[in-house]
Amino acid sequence: MKALLLLISVAPLALAAPANAQSMQNMPGMNMPAAKAPPKKKPAAKPATPVKRKTAAKPAAKPTPAKRGAPVAQPKAAAHDMSGMGAMPGMDMSGTAGSKASPKPDPHAGHDMSSMPGMTMPDTAGGTMNHDMPGMNMPAGGTGQPMEHDMSSMPGMSMDGQMAGHGAGGTSLAPGNAPAPAAPSDHYADRIYQNGAMVDSRSMLHNEHGASTSSMILFNLAEYQVRNGRDGYRWDGEAWFGKDLDRLTIKSEGEGVLGGRNGTFMETAEIQALYSRALDPYWNLQAGVRYDFKPNPSRTYATIGIEGVAPYWFETEAALFLSNKGEVLGRIEGYYDQRITQRLILQPRVELNLSAQDVPETRIGAGISNAEFGLRLRYEVRREFAPYIGVSYDRKLGKTADYARADGEGVKATSFVIGVRTWF
């Protein structure tokens, strides 16, 4: 406020010395870029010659006299006095008001900006402020509303030189509410390039702007497992093919034993073929079939599940499986990629398998049948190729553990793993 008063008191000085006028752009609150865009004065009450381009070319131009003119020309009809504004090139309220370009008389012509510090726009002045003060850009909704501004804070309100002579029309005007026209059903180019000349290119246009097909094959796990007794291997991968919303997804996972007491064999192996449909920005609904090669006897399942990114960037997957023997299984898995550096990434991972019933045939018990916790540290040589090491802890639970014990197998296993995460 003090600065503002100061500014105003300095105004006459600035008037006298155009050079000073420029320094006003450094005014604390006002910030008028007088130097940068020497307000091409309003053509309106212009006693000076309004040669716009010339003015623009030389920043030192003194817009002052022009602005002065406007208010003077306005016999305080609106009980405002702009004269104090003379030195404020950045504000030029008069310009708009007095502009001949203004199609209609402006009730705001010549506000007394000299009293800016405490300025209050009387109700009577009412009307649409956005005609006078384009720089303020009042919302359209303000049209016709009474203005009771305490303009004391004006400096804060974008008087940043944008007010400099820009006329009352153009983008300062509020839009009307004409109805939108109906969209045409024809293509204008067909009138010029006839006989179907546009057909192929139009089809290509659509295909190339949002209808592309893509695909990806990812092996999140492909590893050798070192553990007490019998080393093993494991894979967990997924591939998809399709467009943004609809995709064919193939999943496969499994594990086996290398050179154990019973030799090398595959313990579990499954493949799923799923139709995947985007549900929302992050989640896909997936439905299809799952076939287990191992363990024997094999099973076929109808599958439904979701896959996506949960809050906090957890890659998550949950599925229900209904077997051809009527058994219901479930699976939940998730992992999180913690970047340690841009290329060194730690991936905690958990997988829970569930069953609704005992399935002695495949040695699965009701409840949580087994749980796997993994921690894998990879280095992204490229995004697509990341060798990793880690640990994996696998625990059979409940009845499943009982089956295992009965079979003389262990119920838990800790493995050191080494593998490669890869995709393309």
């Binding site: 609150g29 091409k40 006329g167 983008t171």
Partner: protein, 642 residues
């Protein structure tokens, strides 16, 4: 040959064949893998009859050979120099094995010559020729590029300069055309595939890490959790980065050191074109003030800045007056600070100046997510245009009891911006920026603080009711709860660079706008996307969804508000028209063909639909467009039944 060319040594050595192929065009730099400086102006074609041949070629960048698609053997394509008032006849030969096209970006041409396959013409078949012929009705700096597939990324772009019919009001002793672009050794289809496969993180090697957290860099833990909860990455500033791009000046890499000559004391006009596929540049020349005199081909009142941001497809003409007999470095830093385009301004060949290091990359903040002012400690949010910004805020959409907002919504009645506010005695931000004004900051900031919006989780980031016309679906990750008019703010990452940065609100037309009527109506278009799936759209609709066009009537004037519901900036281009930015300049609003909508921001423009036909309307981020961020705008004569 237009006489204007004679006095410009810019064209020294260029192939002025008066319309033939400029075959001398591209001079390989392989003799100097890392050059002391390449003083080679762009090859130029001019005259009434010009032939352009699109073909595969190799180009050398920083001493490395790279495959490209060029025109007349050169990347960028030759400078097309025309004169306002002439008629241009451009025969374009497509020597590729696929369809191609040329769109004259910013030129007002009959719609059938606009060059967008599938909208304005059938495209140019392989091994065939298409002849464009149209009158040149305007002057200024423009450019041209392919509108087919992803050819533009491979080098199919070049500058256009049109000299005014009369005397050029912008005086200069010399000029240089500066075409900024991005080039990758990866095929553009491979780039797009990576984006589709893993979203925005593939090319970003400046993400937040645990190491960074422990070093107390970037966001504190709480913010990281907040952002993680929303599945938003604040480092996601550019989709494709310097990890694969080399940034070019006139086809030359930073180590090639393309050099523009001057004599000390000359007024040098630099015509900047951002012909990148995906890169927003922050341009500066340390040691020189940049006077912006033209934007998107049309003259603006001079604005002196230290740095400006140029979005994809924009052009800016700058005047510099280097007085010292020394070299200056011209830097085009990519907005995510992953690399830079670099050239040298020097009195003589072979000179170089210090090349400053890349600055720290910006982090997106809550405003970039369209959450308004919640993060402002002071007045940052009101940046540069207090009143206007407030007007720009979507008050109707704000379900908060916000004093300032409420006042504004009510026609600003009773608005009291706090008369007791103390005014600073000094304002360090040069002109135009009201931003850091405590005078305003105090009250408004308090008001905001009182909104109890500190908890990010408390705001619904995907409230479709705030954007009824948006088709909510998997392609719409977020809806900005409180998008703001950010045209008064410096571009992303330029808030605190310590010197004057150009903002849109600085731009003001020299000539009165040709149409100063009030808009007949207003409409809103939302810029929507999903970084995770790499889907981009308008109002949740991709071009491939085959919706009806966005209809305009001939000579209808419409206020279009673009609302950015994403955390990326989008340079939006409307073909066949200039539009007036609604930035508070009334009848002298800046007229542009491309406007960059800041993340979480919004921009309004008034457009007079005076060009009959169907026109492309799209984001000029090439891969955003390719993902579907494009629509057709139809302009039909009144009375013609729809």
């Amino acid at each position: 040959m237009p006489p204007v060319l004679n006095r410009r040594d810019l064209f020294r050595g260029a192939a002025l064949t008066g319309g033939g192929l400029a075959l001398s065009a591209w001079m390989p730099a392989w003799a100097q893998p890392v050059s002391a400086g390449i003083v080679k102006p762009l090859p130029t074609v001019t005259g009434n009859d010009i032939t352009l041949k699109i073909a595969h070629q190799m180009m050398m960048i920083d001493g490395r050979a790279s495959h490209a698609i060029g025109i007349n053997g050169t990347v960028p394509a030759p400078l097309i120099r025309l004169r306002q008032g002439q008629t241009a006849r451009l025969s374009v030969i497509n020597d590729l094995d696929e369809d191609s096209s040329i769109h004259w970006h910013g030129l007002l041409v009959p719609f059938q010559f606009d060059g967008v396959p599938g909208i304005s013409f059938p495209g140019i078949k392989p091994k065939s020729t298409f002849v464009y012929e149209f009158p040149i009705v305007q002057a200024g700096t423009y450019w041209y590029h392919s509108h087919s597939g992803l050819q533009e990324q491979m080098g199919h772009y070049g500058p256009i300069v049109i000299d005014p019919a009369g005397e050029d009001p912008i005086k200069s002793d010399r000029e240089h055309v500066i075409v900024l672009s991005d080039h990758s050794q990866m095929h553009p289809h491979a780039i797009f595939r990576k984006l589709k496969q893993v979203g925005g993180g593939y090319f970003n090697y400046q993400r937040q890490t645990l190491a960074g957290l422990m070093a107390k860099e970037d966001q504190p833990l709480k913010d990281r959790l907040d952002w993680g909860k929303m599945r938003m990455d604040p480092t996601d500033v550019s989709d494709v980065t310097g990890s694969t791009y080399t940034y070019l000046v006139n086809g030359h890499g930073p180590r090639d050191n393309w050099t523009a000559l001057f004599r000390p004391g000359e007024r040098v006009r630099l015509r900047f074109v951002n012909a990148s596929a995906m890169t927003t540049f922050n341009v500066r020349i340390p040691g020189l003030k940049l006077t912006v005199v033209q934007a998107d081909g049309l003259d603006v009142r001079p604005v002196e800045v230290d740095e400006f941001q140029i979005a994809v497809a924009e052009t800016y003409d700058i005047i510099v007056t280097p007085t010292d007999d020394r070299a200056y470095t011209l830097i085009g830093e990519s907005v995510d600070r992953s690399g830079m385009a670099r050239a040298t301004l020097a009195p003589r060949e072979g000179m170089a100046a210090e090349v400053p290091a890349l600055r720290k990359r910006p982090l997106a903040d809550m405003k970039d997510m369209g959450m308004g002012e919640m993060d402002m400690g002071g007045m940052q949010g009101m940046d540069a245009s207090g009143g206007s910004t407030m007007a720009g805020m979507d008050h109707a959409a704000m379900g908060h009891d916000m004093p300032t907002g409420a006042a504004a919504a009510g026609g600003m009645a009773g608005m009291d911006m706090g008369s007791g506010a103390s005014m600073p005695t000094t304002d360090k931000t040069p002109g135009g920026s009201m931003a850091r004004m405590p005078g305003m900051g105090a009250p408004a900031g308090d008001a905001m603080a009182g909104m109890a919006m500190g908890e990010m989780g408390g705001m619904n980031m995907r409230d479709g009711s705030k954007a009824p016309q948006v088709k909510m679906g998997p392609g719409v990750q977020t809806i900005s709860p409180m998008p703001m008019d950010r045209t008064g703010e410096p571009g992303q990452g330029l808030e605190d660079v310590g010197h004057r940065v150009l903002v849109y609100r600085d731009l003001m037309a020299v000539d009165r706008n040709p149409d100063v009527r009030a808009p007949d109506r207003a409409m809103e278009i939302h810029l929507t996307g999903n970084m995770e799936r790499y889907m981009w759209s308008f109002d949740g609709v991709k071009l491939s969804d085959k919706r009806e066009p966005i209809p305009f009537l001939e000579n209808e004037r419409v206020r279009v508000t673009l609302v950015n519901d994403t955390m990326m900036s989008h340079p939006i281009h409307l073909h066949g028209h200039f539009f007036e930015l609604v930035t508070g300049h009334g009848e002298y609003s800046p007229r542009k063909h491309t406007v960059n909508v800041a993340p979480g921001g919004k921009v309004s423009f008034d457009v007079t639909a005076n060009a009959i036909g169907d026109w492309a309307f799209h984001c000029h981020m090439l891969y955003h467009m390719h993902a579907g961020m494009m629509r057709v705008v139809s302009v039909r004569p009144r009375g013609e039944a729809a």
